[in-house]
Subunit: 252 residues, 2 copies
């Protein structure tokens, strides 16, 4: 059991931003400026590969969830990312990915392998963070908790949600089914899943197979035209509405 | 060129409801009660098979578009539906559908064939209606026009939108690709398309093939778990947001 330590507090775009650590793992907790101490649902987010907990994609989604829905939102730096040290293994895998990219070889096998490794490390970190955040009075042990992560955030999030009954709704997307489909088959909570119809890395069949694998009675696939990096901004709005619908709260 | 004749006017759930005819074809025009005479975008809708222009699915979607977005919305009774006479051919096709349903035979071949016939009749009716509605000062000849129709509304809507440059955004869904895919390949405006992941009538491959056929640079597929008739209510909200995004106006 790791305890939560807040290391700094500031305000950012209408949110209270509190940096924290849980053990060695750095994270950020964003809360409504008008009610940072008020009990509200929590959304745990996972960032994409090569990014970090405060990447604009994370803080932008947090604003929709915090300012729009009144939620608390927490993100961790994934192993080897953001403020965390890179191991020799991290360096070797990233170098292999860049080598494949430069050579025009498929990135999938490397990303799938590396993300599976990171997920093994990150899942217990997310669990420990949830334990620690639920000690805060503004979150509590019995409040609703959701998860939102695309790309590497899905590679970590699917095994996390599959093994974590406290998560009651999740947004995933844009990953290969290898490794993840068997975890997805244990997920029964409502899921919204994003894919890109013209993804140059993940085939349609692969993306559809991962969506199909979820055991959830309620699941929605959003497939948009465009390449891997062209996921439309409006999907973040849709994710916020989905989470508001399931965790309680009004997306605005 | 048929002229528009209004036959009655009332209010319904906050909307001004005007029944009209264009030639022999009966339709309904719903407008904001607070500004029925104000210039606003128009959405043409098509109803599902066996239903009619004022089915609750139509008036419910109209409320989202009229009260939520400030749009005008018009729906026609399809040939053989609602207040229109059924021909011997209509009777025979409907009887064949009920026979197949009772026998547990596939409904697709009959629905595809019958809807293609109805679309041939309905497309010029929708075009004449749009001509006539654009004569109204509150709609005008140069205002934005969208289309929204699922099931039979898609069977009529895809050939209509494919041949109608005045439509600049369209919501379709839940139909077989036979007959329609070749029309869809001529559609380039933004499209939102709904399918049911566990549809007992339309296979996943068929639904995905129709979505894939649209030539639109911007298109979104929404696939939800559940059977044919279980299309979630929130897809109507999504359609209203999509149309508001493309026609101008704020979904609320």
């Amino acid at each position: 059991m790791y305890s939560l330590k807040f290391t700094s507090e500031s305000t950012f775009n209408g949110m209270v931003e509190r940096d924290f650590t849980v053990g060695e793992v750095p994270g950020v907790l964003w809360s409504p400026a008008s009610g940072a101490a008020d009990r509200a649902p929590l959304v745990l987010m996972g960032h994409g590969g090569g990014n970090h907990k405060k990447h604009p994609a994370m803080s932008g989604r947090a604003q929709l969830l915090v300012n729009g829905c009144g939620f608390h939102v927490a993100v961790l730096d994934a192993p080897g990312h953001g403020d965390r040290p890179r191991t020799a293994h991290d360096e070797a895998e990233v170098a292999d990915l860049f080598r494949a990219r430069a050579a025009g070889e498929p990135e999938g096998p490397i990303v799938v392998r590396y993300n599976a490794h990171l997920a093994e490390l990150a899942v217990p970190e997310y669990r420990a963070t949830l334990d620690a955040l639920q000690e805060l009075p503004e979150i509590g042990a019995d409040g609703p908790v959701g998860y939102f992560g695309i790309n590497m955030g899905t590679a970590i999030g699917i095994p996390f949600v599959a093994s974590e009954p406290r998560i009651t709704a999740a947004v995933f997307g844009q990953h290969w089914p290898d490794v993840l489909a068997e975890h997805a088959a244990r997920i029964t909570v409502p899921v919204e899943f994003a894919m890109q119809w013209d993804d140059e890395h993940i085939t349609r069949e692969e993306a559809l197979a991962l969506f199909d694998a979820f055991a959830s009675k309620e699941k929605s696939l959003h497939a948009n035209s465009g390449r891997h990096k062209e996921l439309p901004r409006f999907e973040a709005d849709s994710a916020a509405r989905f989470l508001a619908r399931h965790l309680g709260g009004a997306a605005s």
